[in-house]
Symmetry: C2
Subunit: 141 residues, 2 copies
DNA sequence: CTTTACGTTGACGTAAACGTTAAGTTTGAG
DNA sequence: CTCAAACTTAACGTTTACGTCAACGTAAAG
């Protein structure tokens, strides 16, 4: 009876590991690094709430985008700050803005990379066209 | 007089290192990994052409986007394939297409991350508004 | 020709992000 | 209750991407 009704769906470590296709060790490591703080069962086993699951999702997204765990910690640590301290909130907002800028930069880099690849592919396609139209006999100058 | 007129501007390793704000060691490491293959001077020193410089730029862009050197090697190794072997060209094109798909995925993830951050920031701003409007006295329920 | 800055190849060191045992504990099926 | 499956901590191993000497060669300035 103590502390809210428990309609909360929870997950074990191997459940989450299977769902996201990572190892339990990786999840424990994220906890070591302070990125996750699941509760424990009576027998000391980790219990993950939906909120923990959402955080894990964010962690993995950050990883796929090439952020380090330290950077991710800062990013998702953002909503962790005491939601009462005004100055903390201001800082979080500033940090959020800087992250948005970084995202803008990455978008730009992705676009440039895409252009590079497209350009290279066009050259290749032209070469392919030329080779197939010329057949095998040609004076190589 | 031997081998083409040398209107080619070249660079030393420390020039490139300074320009891109990385260490010469890093550049040598990229070479160890097969990502760069500069020519050598009479005295065995590395000489980088504009083409090498472009490749280095691509390497660094890939790094900023969180690709591993192996992945980058595959990506920029693409234009390295013998430009005469038709089958090689076909494979390169297929590889290019897969990379474009990956870029599309990353764009999507960046957009989602952006939304997450924006949503969090909105919540923070609302909290800030509420706190400043309520002053300091309020019954915390 | 000497000095000084820059370059070369090893070779070992290191931080990040886990993988991999090992040795013991908890949980759930029967 | 029993036993296997899943969990726990602790500790050492591994890969990636360099950093950091060391010991030597080379380029260029005076």
């Amino acid at each position: 009876m103590s502390g809210g009704r428990s309609g909360e769906r929870t997950y074990s470590i191997s459940e989450l590991a299977a769902e996201f296709d990572i190892s339990p060790r990786a999840i424990r490591y994220y906890e070591e690094r302070g990125l996750l703080t699941p509760r424990r069962s009576a027998g000391n086993q980790r219990v993950y709430t939906r909120r923990d699951r959402r955080r894990l999702k964010l962690i993995l997204r950050g990883k796929r985008l090439g952020f380090s765990l330290d950077e991710i910690a800062e990013m998702i640590g953002m909503p962790e700050t005491d939601l009462t301290e005004v100055e903390q909130i201001r800082r979080s907002l500033a940090y959020g803005r800087s992250k948005l800028e970084e995202i803008a930069r990455r978008k730009k880099e992705l676009a440039e990379l895409e252009q590079d690849i497209l350009a290279t592919m066009e050259t290749l396609e032209q070469t392919l066209d030329r080779l197939s139209k010329e057949g095998a006999s040609h004076d190589p100058r």
